[in-house]
């Protein structure tokens, strides 16, 4: 199966800088929204996403093609987010809920497009970080349980169990707002 990310990345390694733009255009928004589920701050998530691209390009790691490029990029982003949270905890610096509503709305409308998806995404923001991340990977990025497990460094079983609990919590959140969505 064609992996457009992998193809662009290969071209970038061969010296084509325009391929980097393709990667940023294709993956940046989703990655930022995913990382926001960890760090609770759009601007931090945006910086971490940029760090992920820098790391990817600077280290030029071998992508062995056993997983999709997106899975790989998200795994790198997740590691960076965890490092950031560790550092923040050590420095007693707690990430804040920032008032970056405009940026958040822009990303949501650009990446999620549909109003219903945006509503669901906002409801997800009130769930536990672990639930947010799982639902994001499985339902917004449409990854398989196996791919999500790879990124989250959990077993497929653990991800399935998390997804079950997360769906239940999300449904409660949506019901609280009077939204019924049997597809969630």
């Amino acid at each position: 199966m064609d992996d457009p990310g992998q193809a662009s990345y290969r071209r970038f390694l061969e010296g084509d800088e325009s391929a980097l733009y393709e990667l940023v255009e294709r993956y940046n928004d989703g990655l930022v929204l995913y990382l926001c589920g960890f760090v609770n701050s759009l601007s931090v998530a945006d910086e971490l996403a940029e760090d992920a691209f820098v790391k990817l390009c600077l280290k030029r790691p071998r992508h062995r093609g056993l997983s999709s490029f997106k899975t790989w990029l998200y795994a790198i982003g997740r590691n960076l987010a965890i490092d950031y949270l560790r550092r923040a905890a050590r420095e007693k610096h707690v990430p804040l809920h920032e008032a970056s509503l405009a940026g958040s709305e822009l990303l949501e409308s650009r990446y999620l497009r549909e109003e219903r998806k945006i509503q669901v995404h906002r409801a997800m923001g009130r769930l536990k970080p672990e639930y947010r991340q799982t639902l994001w990977l499985l339902y917004f990025e449409e990854m398989s349980g196996k791919e999500a497990a790879k990124i989250m460094r959990r077993s497929v079983h653990a991800v399935e169990a998390l997804a079950y609990r997360a769906r239940r919590a999300l449904r409660e959140e949506l019901h609280r707002e009077g939204i019924t969505d049997e597809d969630i």
């Binding site: 691209f53 560790r86 398989s144 079983h157 653990a158």
Partner: protein, 318 residues
């Protein structure tokens, strides 16, 4: 928020700056490195000459572990699992890296995760406390970092697991942000010798005495992550299951290869078994046509047990 163009440009600028810095660092380090190489070569040479196995704590490099395994092999095995050897280069960058822990010179890789809502909920799993996992490994770790005792991708307290040989299974206990706990089981499949199924499924996993429930899943459902479709194996009696386990324990291990068996893992008809154990863990087995039984992370090593017993279980998974 930056536009895509701005972000791309920012990444490119940072890359250029980083490369300039690295180039300066490399020139400075070059002189020191040549001295270090001579010292390291001398140390390694002395270590092997003295016959000290390299898998003792503080082992010198990862590739040496496989050498240790073959050295200790007074016994011969049908197969020896692949040792985890890092790719050459300035760092051990692996896109598909999974969770792991380095303990006594062996790499234990991620197995099942067990979560609990309350701390102490899973204390029955915990055996002896061994130390603290550093959470120091990432795709970018150097070879040196990989050789450090308790180097790991997770941080937390390392314990042996009750009922299992610590040379096979350990766990890392972590407290979660929500106030619960998670036990990450880890298994050492790094350069181990195997003759028959009993070596893994008996001596290490204790399937005969431990299995309380057997569920199956078709390959299609497994591929789709439809674990809600796990089901009891239709028409399979307890006696048939016992016969299956007996045959599995007696089955020789074989090592196949992708070159000889192209498309093996892509076969549409496969079976997946989930064996719940008395301690609450689950063992997953993957069945392939021809009587091959695989265990996660063993890639091309299988117990081979062709025959009616295998066929009955294989068919029941579909």
């Amino acid at each position: 928020m930056k536009t895509y163009e701005e972000k791309t440009q920012s990444v490119i600028d940072r890359l250029r700056t980083e490369r300039r810095k690295r180039s300066r660092r490399r020139r400075t380090a070059a002189a020191c490195l040549s001295c270090l190489c001579i010292a390291a070569a001398a140390a390694l040479s002395a270590r092997y000459d003295s016959g000290v196995p390299a898998d003792t704590p503080g082992g010198s490099d990862v590739s040496a572990w496989s050498a240790a395994d073959s050295q200790s092999g007074a016994e011969t095995y049908a197969v020896v699992t692949d040792s985890i050897v890092l790719p050459e280069g300035e760092s051990a960058v692996m896109a598909d890296m999974i969770g792991c822990l380095v303990y006594q010179g062996k790499v234990y890789t991620q197995g099942q995760a067990i979560t609990g809502a309350e701390p102490g909920e899973n204390s029955s799993f915990l055996g002896e406390y061994l130390g603290e996992a550093k959470g120091s490994l990432s795709e970018w770790s150097s070879q040196e970092e990989w050789t450090t005792e308790f180097a790991s991708t997770y941080s937390g307290s390392v314990y042996t697991v009750s009922g299992y040989d610590p040379s096979f299974r350990l766990c890392i206990r972590q407290e979660t942000a929500e106030g619960g706990e998670m036990l990450q089981l880890l298994e050492n499949l790094d350069g181990i010798g195997l003759n028959t199924g009993a070596d893994l499924f008996g001596n290490r996993l204790h399937l005969r005495e431990g299995t309380t429930c057997v569920l199956g899943l078709s390959h299609q459902d497994w591929n789709d992550g439809r674990y809600d479709r796990l089901r009891a194996l239709d028409g399979l009696s307890a006696e048939q299951w016992k016969t299956f386990l007996d045959a599995l324990f007696d089955a020789p291990f074989v090592k196949l290869s992708g070159e000889e068996h192209p498309g093996f893992y892509q076969a549409e008809t496969q079976g997946h078994l989930f064996l719940t154990q008395t301690d609450g863990t689950t063992v997953e087995l993957r069945l392939f046509e021809g009587g091959y039984v695989g265990y996660p992370k063993m890639s091309w090593i299988f117990a081979q047990m062709p025959g009616e017993t295998f066929d009955a279980v294989f068919a029941a998974c579909q």
